[in-house]
Amino acid sequence: MSIRAADTAARGRLHFFLSVLRARPSFALGYAIVAVICLCAIFAPLIAPYDPVKADPANFLKPPSWSHIMGTDATGMDIFSRIIYAPRIDLAIALAGTLISAVLGSLLGAAAGYYQTRRGIWSFAAGFIMRASDVLQAFPVFVFAIAVVAVLGQSLYSVVIAVAFVNTPIYLRLMRSQVLSVRRMRYVEAAYVAGVSDRAILMRHVIPNSLAPVLAQLSVNIGWAILLTAGLSFIGAGVEAPTPEWGSMIAMGYQNVITGHWWPSIFPGLALAITVFGFALIGSSVEVLADPSRRRTLGGQIQGRQDAAKPG
């Protein structure tokens, strides 16, 4: 019985999800964009017609044509191939950076929330974590990321660390506020009285029950992280040339726009804009679906629509 119930529940969820996409086509667009970007990243070597990092100075700054559908840049590299390869770097950096910040921020936030009212060194440590995150958040995100890359040196890993670093306080605060309410729950108190260790209470009871908003935040943040990565590369603090990456492609081409060579920067700019837009749409869909009251309203709308669609 339980298997069938679970099956029905899963089907019900899928059905609901599909109806949501039908009711809000913008959400579907978001998922489609991100799916296409992910496919590009995975199958880039099969799709791209040229080597994305091979200069061909005999064919520099060729306008879009059948052989180079988005033209070539100042060193003769094929822009379409580079745009197809770019999500490998941009998505990887954004995903890695965001995941690291989510894990690190959640753990620290949980500890800070859980230990806040303890006496002695624990409360001091919790306070210290919060003040440290205040300091981090006091800097403008972009300036802070530039500083991190400047200190660590220019490489892929420094960009990942920069992205992780600037996002950590967001998860830290989110988790801490959740934990502050969850730790007063009866089941947590019961575990404490039963003599379960702090670590076990945190891992088994507190963190799992506080995780939902963090997951919602995750998808929104990936879009921002892509933008941050591209921004860092644009000002030259990001990945090394000639790694295919949207921000650095825009930077390499934007000065040529005035001389009429618009293609080296416009196409990667569009790709970047569409990708961030896709993640923003997913973010807003997660926001709606994770919020019980808005979800209920949406459910009501879908129900109403289905009722209206029924013949009768």
Partner: protein
């Protein structure tokens, strides 16, 4: 009074006021050319940077060059000749003259006449009389002595100039009488005259400097950093760093008041913006443009573009102290693997010539006979095999983020080297710290752009290839080259000098301490009515040359 009937509805009223405004503007539009001509005494220049410091003993930044040339004058200058390729432009006559003193064609600036001792160890300058500084003090021999004393005392760039001109102690610059000064060296020095044409050997108004400096600051460092005390054609009206500097022509300049009254030197960091300002007519001159921008301006209305061979060189230092570049065969292979012609076409759009020597090709004593490195991968492979590096190696190439041509060159070179199994990691260095990277000499390969300001083979080669030179950033050391360059510095006999510097060039080119890239042109992009531009080997403009016509 009531409104005329036809204005009673709102639409008619709007039309009417529009018409009135239109007619009000019309006369202005029609009289634009006249207003334009009246503004002719102001010149607006869009430059990458305003001067940081106005003290040429310490600062070598871009805007400082223009400021020094406007505020100060030196003792001598090269005579001007029309550019052989661009008839509307003038340039310095840096050629070798067997019959002239010091073998150079000079004109007096602050010096009226000069006499070079046949020993090559002494030169006497008679100064112009009645020359006034921007503070009204008269030029005397004491000003020249004080100026060179300052160079001795403050060191830095001053130390370089005293050293290359063979001056060992402050007393070597002697006041003979009120208007006569002499320079005396222990050994014959070939640069005794040429060094006084240099942009960075101007004469200060010592009376003013002593007055403002007092005992706290005897060399007036604080004053000279922000203001000027010189005998040049302009005085400083305003300097707002990062925004603009304004220069005012001097009525009492000894050469006559310059044609342009006011020069506004604006900082516009992006070259694309400088192009737009020039095209839109907001500025008269746009400096330091990218090759593609220069090409795009060639058909722009009311804009003239002149591009001439210059003293600039761009190369890649192959660090002789870092393996595998300690092996000359590897360095030769790196040159055979460099697609020079493609780089000149793709990156420079033909606005540069191939770097086929190790000093500027526009200077006397240059020889382009020793450049064998035409793009040839087979030859490069052979040389790598000989060096035991035929399986390739890993290295890194650093380039300046502030110079837009370097990144594409680096990418093209990287692709070419991949064919030889050489993996090059590209290292983009922020413009602010790039110079430090170069002077540290710790990068295996790094770009460098420079121009030796003194049109002389001994001076140019010693800068980059003498094993003891500060500017020898490739760590190149060859005892024979050191010996030849020392011989060139110790004689004023031009025949001997041409012979030894020629031999030195042959050795250097064979041992390839650099990857030879290009001689970029100097480009002047200006409004069509700006006349009188002269190209100087110091690669800057001098406001006093310009007029509107």
């Amino acid at each position: 009074m009531t409104l005329p009937n036809f204005l009673s509805n709102r639409r008619d009223f709007l039309k009417f006021t529009g018409l009135m405004a239109g007619t009000a503007v019309m006369p202005r539009v029609l009289s634009m050319p006249r207003a334009y001509a009246q503004a002719g005494s102001t010149l607006v220049i869009a430059a990458p940077a305003t001067p940081q410091s106005l003290d040429c003993n310490f600062d070598v930044s871009l805007g400082t060059f223009e400021a020094i040339a406007a505020l100060y004058d030196g003792l001598l200058g090269f005579a001007k000749i029309p550019d052989p390729g661009v008839p509307t432009a003038l340039r310095e006559d840096t050629a070798f003259y067997a019959d002239k003193p010091g073998n150079v064609n000079m004109v007096g600036k602050l010096a009226e006449s000069w006499e070079l001792d046949p020993s090559g160890k002494r030169v006497v300058f008679k100064l112009r009389q009645g020359v006034k500084s921007n503070w009204g003090n008269e030029l005397t021999a004491e000003d020249v002595r004080w100026t060179w004393n300052r160079a001795f005392e403050l060191g830095a760039l001053g130390a370089f100039y005293t050293a290359v001109s063979g001056l060992k102690r402050p007393e070597d610059v002697k006041v003979e009488d009120k208007y006569t000064v002499s320079f005396n060296t222990d050994d014959p020095n070939p640069l005794l005259l040429k060094i006084h044409t240099n942009l960075y050997t101007p004469v200060y108004d010592s009376t003013k400097c002593k007055e403002v400096g007092g005992t706290d600051d005897p060399w007036a460092r604080k004053f000279i950093e922000n203001e000027s005390a010189g005998f040049g054609p302009y005085k400083l009206q305003q300097l707002t760093r990062g925004q603009q500097a304004i220069f005012q022509a001097r009525e009492d300049y000894y050469g006559g008041k310059p044609a342009i009254d006011t020069v506004v030197f604006k900082e516009v960091p992006t070259s694309a913006s400088r192009v737009q300002l020039l095209q839109g007519g907001a500025v008269d001159i746009a400096q330091y443009l990218q090759p593609l921008e220069v090409i795009s301006l060639k058909n722009a209305p009311n804009v003239a573009v002149e591009t001439v061979p210059a003293s600039f060189m761009i190369w890649i230092e192959l660090n002789a102290k870092i393996a595998p570049f300690d092996n000359p065969d590897v360095r030769r292979a790196m040159n055979y693997a460099f697609p020079q012609e493609q780089v000149l076409n793709a990156v420079y759009q033909g606005l540069a010539s191939p770097l086929n020597g190790c000093m500027p090709n526009i200077y006397p004593g240059f020889t382009g006979d020793h450049y064998p490195y035409k793009y040839d991968l087979a030859k490069a492979k052979e040389l790598l095999k000989k060096a035991g590096a035929d399986s390739g190696f890993k290295t890194s190439l650093s380039y300046n983020a502030g110079d837009p041509v370097q990144e594409p060159i680096a990418i093209i070179y990287q692709s070419a080297l991949k064919e030889l199994g050489i993996e090059v990691e590209l290292n983009k260095v922020p413009a602010g710290s790039f110079y430090n990277f170069v002077t540290e000499r710790k990068q295996p390969m790094i770009f460098y752009v420079d121009s030796p300001w003194c049109p002389d083979p001994g001076y140019s080669l010693t800068l980059y290839f003498d094993s003891k030179s500060y500017v020898n950033y490739s760590n190149y050391a060859n005892a024979e080259v050191d010996k030849l360059l020392a011989a060139a510095a110790a004689t004023a006999d031009e025949k001997v000098r041409l012979d030894v510097t020629g031999k030195a060039q042959a050795i250097i080119m064979d041992e390839a301490p650099w990857t030879f890239v290009a001689y970029p042109n100097y480009t002047m992009a200006r409004k069509a009515d700006i006349k009188g531009w002269t190209y100087y080997t110091s690669n800057n403009v001098r406001f006093q040359d310009f007029s509107r016509g």
